[in-house]
Symmetry: D2
Subunit: 344 residues, 4 copies
């Protein structure tokens, strides 16, 4: 059994980690910390876990995290970078669901996240935990930077086109829509039901923190810097990300894009390329670790339209984190995360 | 392995049966029928099942249902009663999720369902599939009448009070609220999102088909006829039932109702009595087979208020059906239906 | 023109007052105060008001409220009671949308609202602003206690039965459901879309502040103390209240209840009694000052079921406040508040 | 007073026309037809209209439409083209809210709408009713083709850029999102609340009927054929369209786009250009005839991002139709359609 600790379990990625880990056949959750809720039973905060999770939240100081085999950070940005080094030195593996270790260029990270980085050397070592790209590095990593929710859907969508060098990577467009749980379990006015329901809006058009993360990932694949316009939107739903991606074919216009995508993801358990002509729905992945993708070329023109959907809390966060854990601990990659989506 | 057939798998109870059965360790789904969709792959209709269900819908005539160990009817009312006898005679067990076998009094059934009953003798034999009341009869049944969604939440809520003879059973009130999936996957105007969202209404105040079913169940327990006012409402949500139940204490006013409920359901895996003072949310059981109950006595008066929540498609339909199957086939009662609720 | 001031215009009752008052033909809004947003243009906070409201929020000290003919308090509880006396002494009329002046028994008020009352003598003078009951007192009032949202829907629903002395007033039940805007425009976790959407729950079963308000109102009519069980619920919608009311007929069981309700409200512009057998929807009053009511006697028994719907922000708050203003200033009662509901 | 008839008043554009026209100071609704609901009171179908509309639906044959000054067609495609000629010959003005007269090229229309056009000569005469472009032609028109909902939001968004010849019109992208009421009040499975809520999807990526309409409009302005990729999406909300528009600046890169938009729409009562940096929300125009637009140039690059929101049933249908009526009958353009949006 893997002895697992969770730091910061009171948010949505926390409860989602617990949903999967509590029934994972190779995991024992030994500790879960929360500064604000220390002493409270986890199942008192999240009624859905009654009968499945018997732990109480513990104060960080009393948590014994250094005795764990693996620690998940489900914390706000800026926490993991302060605690990672001690854990790594204690031979504890780390999967950080926050953004602390995602961006290799410290200057870029500090600009977008508005703070000084506490641990630049571990940034260099950290492996970006997108298994469909980095599986072999993940296998041997001590520290995983678990990708953001938008970056997962966008990178998986563009990946085959970029790898095959079929598109003009100077002017990619990602028009992306997210359910409200992406904003976290934080008391804020703009995500109240009375504000966000029966409503739709873009936000962060001038710049969003996931822009440099996506650009880094796609540029790595392309081996040169991509140009990306990234526009996130807020959808009046709880879970789900829908990325609508636009690219211009630059050459090989006769390539069978459907076949390209099917071949690229043929061995991936969590990426499902839909038949030609289909449109994926976010609910078709609700509660599951899947990314479903459809490939379109409207009117057989030069503009490719890729539709990519995930559950932002699963493949976009907790599920992908456990997928990374499975790889790191040499378990079957789907173990404990092969639940069928909840529909309707 | 139990060889299972499903009749009528294109509705919400159908897809929900498939979600559970496809991952049930002791079940092999051998056939699924649909008159309208014969020949179509199930996963083409329900994208959520891609990779998990490889069957095609078959026409009822070609279905080989009589070779199954067990057949679930997930059909509109009036279908199961026409096909049940032949299957029973072929030694196939049946769990009917429709209302055909729920009401023992044929005259009452015919009045509320507006058709002549095709198979009254099997009504007499059928066992009402509410395990918390009828577990021992279910064990040996050939034909299960799976309860309605409202009746499950209401009966489990009132049950301890009625058994303990603490309330005036002549004037029970059940003010019950349901998500829209309770109306089924049928093209109708009143359940369109543009009609039902951001809206709330009662319906069927003059009489709803679940009224006689609830009255029959509670009267059986009370051993005399109960009086019930039952008002269903439509909630702008997908899944969930919330029953708010009112009863007058008739005697033993010092009884500890919290203890009464906890004791009654102590051995029930799927009924969770919340701590005193709590209010269950429908999302705390979303996607799960649980019924969560809270017991209140406002201002310590004589009116008891019971709050009872279920997922109408699970404990109110498909999950309870599989719970019945587990009992009938001598399997652990929770096998394949112990998923943790999806929250948020 | 009536010179109107608004204290505390940053919440939902504030923006709703502005929606109506900005197009009211006899009103000039002269000042609107907000401690937190002083200096900000109102239309910057509420984009919906761009081009209709040119004011900026002013700090309370600079507001010149004492020059107004009328001041609306759209503030949290506990503010109006501190400022009312000075304004009354300056001959400014007041309509308080908070709860400060609703409860005549100061002890009861202090118990439910958890603070000491700052101005008990004005409580005695204040007129409870439910025009369908108190129209003549409202006409001459200096200070109106505008009713709460639940109390409006519940009292209008029970009123004809109580006046006609037809029911057992010792055991009334009000099972009431509200949209989330009833909780106000406050940053809180439990009303986030990701918490409250696709969910339904009761709350405050042990006691809610609107219980003593409703009991006071109904007891005044009955001329003796009523017994009431009041259970509020949160509905995943923005606006709307649906009260499902239960009462036992005590006598005159042959009374035509439909005719009773139609007669009682025949002259009321804002109470609409639906034809027999109908079920009002909350959306049928969305954005309007209407209360629609339906009267049922299921199975012709002794239990009467009344369905009463309002928009909690209009007839339950801002619309009723303006209705009171129209009465106080001798204007046609429907002036400026006769908008047709927004459906769908 | 203008004597107005409505053909086909049982859908969402019908009830929305009635909401505005019933309180329009210069309109008398004399007849409203419905084949399916003839004889029924309009207010029995739409409870929101009780007390405001006393008409019954009449059968088309008995309707006396030829006595009207103006007839609105709120019918499915293919109806207006059969009845328009007779009305025009009877000197009745027509505003068609369907697509029958929007596309000038009959071949294109017949291809996208899948039927033969019954009245090509009136297509030539018809004026496309987008006042911000065609106001002077509308003034003298006998027959108005009222624009589609997507085309209104998209054309108003691109208009200033195209007129100013600032962008590469060969590769425009319109990623557009609509509330579910855009699909109409039709019994269909995919728009049920249980299907469409908590869900997001694209549809019609291979081609949508509004594509040729938008291309015709923008090409007219550009005086050459534009290239457009148009991807519509379904949002789990009732009303609202949000167009996210992408274009490449081709020259004059120093142009102040904010000033350009503000100048272009300075005299338009129903187009509101937001301050720089803002993101319009669909709810900020809910129930109103407004289009709100924001102009962005992320990271000061060459890609312009325009955000344009409307209420699909108002500026995208009924409100714009009445705006056209006001122009045709020489009334103030805002008469009867200047309601403030309903927020929240």
């Amino acid at each position: 059994m893997i002895n697992v600790g969770i730091v910061g379990g009171t948010g949505y990625t926390g409860v989602e980690l617990l949903r999967f880990l509590a029934q994972h056949p190779k995991v024992k959750i030994t500790t879960i910390t929360s500064r604000s809720e220390a002493g409270m039973a986890v199942a008192d905060l999240f009624t859905s876990l009654r009968g499945h999770v018997d732990l109480k939240f513990s104060a960080p100081a009393d948590s014994g995290l250094d005795k764990c085999d693996l620690v998940f950070f489900a914390t706000p940005n800026g926490i993991a970078m302060q605690q990672a080094k001690a854990l790594v030195q204690a031979n504890v593996k780390i999967i950080d669901l926050s953004a602390d270790f995602r961006i290799k260029d410290i200057t870029v990270w500090e600009k977008w996240y508005g703070m000084q980085h506490a641990c630049p050397d571990l940034v260099a070592e950290a492996v970006y935990g997108l298994p469909e790209i980095n599986r072999s590095e993940i296998k041997h990593a001590r520290l995983i930077a678990n990708p953001g929710c938008y970056p997962t859907a966008v990178q998986l969508g563009f990946l085959p086109l970029v790898e095959a060098e079929l598109i003009d990577i100077g002017c990619l467009i990602a028009d992306v829509k997210s359910g409200v749980s992406g904003a976290g379990r934080k008391a804020e006015v703009h995500t109240l039901l009375a504000e966000a329901a029966d409503n739709f809006k873009a936000y962060g058009v001038q710049g969003h923190r996931h822009l440099p993360e996506i650009m880094q990932g796609l540029s790595n694949i392309a081996e040169k810097t991509v140009g990306l316009t990234f526009v996130p939107h807020l959808v009046p739903m709880i879970r789900g990300i829908h990325a609508t991606l636009y690219a211009k074919l630059s050459r090989k216009r006769k390539t069978d894009l459907q076949a390209l995508y099917e071949a690229r993801y043929a061995d991936e358990a969590f990426v499902d390329v839909l038949p030609a002509g289909k449109h994926p729905e976010t609910r078709s992945v609700r509660g599951s670790n899947l990314c479903r993708i459809a490939v379109h070329r409207p009117q057989d023109g030069d503009t490719v339209v890729i539709l990519s959907v995930t559950d932002n809390l699963v493949k976009g966060a907790a599920g992908q984190a456990i997928q990374n854990m499975n790889i790191m601990f040499n378990l079957p990659e789907t173990l404990g995360i092969s639940q069928i989506p909840l529909l309707p």
